[in-house]
Subunit: 230 residues, 2 copies
């Protein structure tokens, strides 16, 4: 087996907290909209369906989520949602976009330590301006060699990202919390992957691997695992 | 003078129509909201101010614009805007995102011809998923060597884009419709730039160059100009 030269790192829920902001906003959405819902529809379910339906048009990220909240608010209220609620939902989106990034436990010291031994590539999907802002304020940008913000994570995208950065797949491992985005497509192109589950996973991202993929409890365990791959 | 090796191309309003969709949507916004405006506020002015105020948080692109339309609708109506108008504004945003790309006159044949003589880099800002979709359906992606979607176009961003693609600034020329984004920052890093004005320019992008920048009436004139730079 070839040694690892490049470590790919997912960002949201791998390096910093993200999903919690979406689930908190979903709770707020349900509370705000419930006085205006007269049928027995489940606002959380409608919001989730609206997000999925809009993924192709809107893509990932907070702006897409905010627009889906607004669409779902009109929908579940039968058009009775007042402008004050619209404003609160837009403000919540802005709050999420402007909120300072909060690194997960162990990330700062582990990423800085890894940078001494490997080349690091952050490969993340989502909103361009938001991800750039999070990266810029993360304190990690200076020790990372490649930053790629992509609109989707499938085998073709990984192939392109590796090719354009001259990264050989044999010496590449991807590390992330999402089996669907960080593990399966990388295995599909012949790379290695490490799964570090996060406390919450968006239903759209839920997938299973076959159990042979290394699964760590914390990024703190990553250097030791990498050492076994020499 | 060194010959040109790389031609950088802006996309929106340089390769395909874009600004017209925003100004059309602005007209629609004013028509939809006017019955709900009781003060002497100018809805178009409020929308423009809202967009500019939100640029730092939302960035560029249709999703940002749509969220600003929704915020401005609540604002200018004093909170009386009905949900039906909210829905129409969201639908307009989706229409803009899903609308097939329309190349400007001469783009298809000129870009394909240039690809035989130069290396081509599309450098565009805006919404990641939307720009990727426009590129994918433009018929141009196959002849372009580098595609960079960035959140802002300033000297530092151009420096990074050129460095990561191993493009020497001495052999680089940027071609675009926006003096502020496509001309001035490239001149600032020692590159060359060609201005091809579009019929409309968003007020945020209006800037002047000193008159010494080559200005073409159409991309059709670009090959001849490039030939003078050998």
């Amino acid at each position: 087996m070839t040694g690892i030269e490049w470590v790919g790192l997912d960002a949201d829920d791998t390096l910093w907290h993200s999903e919690g902001h979406f689930t908190d906003a979903q709770v707020m959405f349900c509370e705000l909209i419930s006085p205006w819902v007269t049928t027995d529809v489940d606002p959380a379910k409608v919001l989730d369906e609206t997000e999925r339906r809009n993924l192709g048009t809107f893509g990932y990220g907070v702006k897409a989520f905010t627009l889906s909240m607004l669409e779902a608010a009109v929908d579940v209220s039968g058009g009775t949602v007042p402008a004050g609620v619209i404003t609160q939902l837009i403000e919540r989106g802005k709050w999420m976009l402007d909120h300072p990034v909060e690194l997960l436990d162990g990330v700062h010291e582990t990423v800085h330590a890894l940078a001494g031994c490997y080349r690091l590539a952050i490969i993340t999907k989502g909103d361009l301006v938001h991800q750039e802002r999070k990266l810029a304020t993360s304190g990690l940008a200076d020790v990372v060699h490649v930053i790629e913000i992509v609109s989707e994570k499938d085998p073709d995208v990984y192939r392109r990202v590796l090719a354009r950065n001259h990264i050989a797949v044999e010496g590449f491992v991807m590390v992330g919390n999402a089996v669907r985005s960080d593990v399966l497509p990388v295995l599909a192109i012949g790379g290695r992957a490490v799964h570090i589950p996060y406390e919450q996973t968006w239903s759209h991202e839920v997938a299973e691997h076959d159990g042979t993929v290394p699964t760590l409890a914390s990024i703190r365990e990553l250097p030791a695992w990498l050492a076994t791959q020499r």
